[in-house]
């Protein structure tokens, strides 16, 4: 029950932050952080794959509705949700993943955590910006956009993960 309440709160905070703050940030055209991914990335390490996939679907649909992107967020978020387990197995080992816990530096160790966060965010960024810019020119500009936004996403998602990682639950 505690877990369910915690993840409902995380879902709400990540979605609201994205909708009401990060979507309206008009600082620079290349700066488009996607912090809502924190919800999918922070699901328990041993969460069933189907639960992760459906969570990603729910978040993607909510983002598509509020951002008017008609499927774009769902495409990227579903792929991240599906690839999460294989990536975790790769950077952490299947046994450690089966033991569970909330993904964090304390639980996973610094190097595997950053590998996990970067791989997931890059995958999301490549799909999101790749599909969005499908028909546009300025390839170098789109690459700059992908790089800046993915770096910003990594930073903000990490901050959100720090904020939402209970200090007592290293597992």
């Amino acid at each position: 029950m505690y877990r369910a309440g915690y993840y409902i709160l995380l879902f709400a905070v990540a979605a609201l932050l994205q909708i009401f703050f990060f979507n309206s940030l008009s600082l620079w055209s290349c700066f488009a952080p996607m912090v809502y991914m924190a919800f999918v990335l922070m699901l328990p390490l041993n969460a069933p794959s189907i639960a992760v996939l459906l969570s990603g679907l729910a978040m993607g649909v909510v983002m598509d509705f509020t951002m008017g992107t008609a499927g774009l967020n769902t495409i990227a978020t579903l792929a991240v949700a599906y690839m999460r387990r294989p990536v975790l197995n790769l950077v952490l080992g299947a046994e450690v993943v089966r033991d569970g816990g909330i993904p964090s530096v304390q639980r996973m160790g610094s190097r595997p955590f950053w590998q996990y966060l970067i791989i997931m965010e890059v995958l999301h960024g490549v799909l999101f910006f790749g599909f969005e810019a499908f028909t546009t020119s300025y390839l170098w500009y789109q690459f700059l956009r992908l790089t800046v936004s993915t770096l910003a996403s990594i930073l903000f998602v990490w901050l959100l993960m720090l904020l939402f990682t209970p200090k007592h639950s290293s597992r």
């Binding site: 008009s26 993607g60 509020t66 774009l72 599906y82 599909f131 020119s137 300025y138 936004s149």
Partner: protein, 276 residues
């Protein structure tokens, strides 16, 4: 049969992923900028109130700058009024302008500049008399976009900074028109395409709306020519235009309704059907 069931049991997550992904890609591939604006208009029925409140807080900090811009704009209008006051047939000029267009202020609830399809959500909707195809201008009268879809209390405009945006444009004081579009690159720059090689183009020349598209009144400032070159066939100019409106700091806009639009569009449609 057993093997099939066993296969599904083992790979149902992958199968579901593929099904969801194919559906999402299908929906996205079929979506247009109009679909996206419609989605945003529906979403704003839920989120518009809070988004508006947040924007109000942000807008508070730029009040001083907006006041300065508005004062400058009022001064310019006063100057124009004084000019028209000196003309003999003033009533005719003013009457035509008043008959053709209605103006309505609106507040920006949310807007983006960091996407390839950028939209602007406004706090006026159907109940305020907003309708599709109304022009959206900055408080200083620069072209910003036009309305695509409305809900009862909100409306969504396609921004000039949207790769699907197109409108007619010309060099101020010149008769030749080109097409304005954004390539998805810099948010300070758009492209004017297919401007006749006979047009009087020069660096720094003002680029304005033509009024032919029925979205914008004619001669609304878009920006200034930054660079230009003849295309490969040497028949048209393509020019880079520095935008006049600051999209990263847009809090208030003016909506413009072309009163005769539906009548003109209907007449044009009727004439086309008779020709073809």
């Amino acid at each position: 049969m057993y093997r099939l069931l066993e296969f599904i049991r083992r790979s149902y997550v992958t199968l579901l992923f593929v099904v969801f992904e194919v559906i999402a890609i299908g929906i996205y591939a079929r979506s247009t900028y109009y679909t996206q604006a419609t989605l945003l208009a529906r979403a704003n029925a839920l989120t518009g109130g809070l988004a508006g409140a947040i924007t109000d807080v942000g807008g508070y900090f730029s009040l001083a700058r907006e006041n300065r811009a508005l004062t400058a704009h009022v001064a310019e209008l006063e100057q124009r009024l004084a000019y028209y006051g000196g003309l003999v047939d003033t009533t005719a000029v003013i009457d035509i302008a008043e008959l053709q267009y209605e103006f309505m202020p609106a507040r920006v609830v949310s807007s983006t500049i960091n996407r390839t399809h950028n939209f602007i959500t406004l706090n006026k909707g159907l109940r305020d008399g907003v309708m599709s195809d109304m022009a959206v201008l900055s408080p200083s009268g620069e072209a910003v976009g036009y309305i695509l879809d409305c809900s009862e209390r909100y409306s969504v405009a396609i921004s000039v900074l949207n790769t699907s945006f197109r409108t007619g444009c010309k060099i101020k004081g010149d008769g030749y028109s080109g097409s304005l579009e954004w390539d998805g690159g810099s948010t300070y720059e758009v492209t004017m395409r297919e401007l006749s090689k006979y047009a009087k183009i020069e660096i720094g020349a003002e680029v304005v709306t033509t009024g032919v598209s029925h979205y914008f009144p004619s001669d609304m400032l878009i920006g200034w020519v930054e660079s230009y070159e003849l295309d490969e066939s040497k028949t048209y100019y393509n020019a880079k235009v520095r935008l006049a409106a600051d999209f990263s700091n847009l809090h208030n806009v003016v909506l413009v309704k072309y009163i005769d639009r539906s009548e003109v569009v209907e007449l044009e449609r009727s004439a086309k059907s008779k020709v073809y």
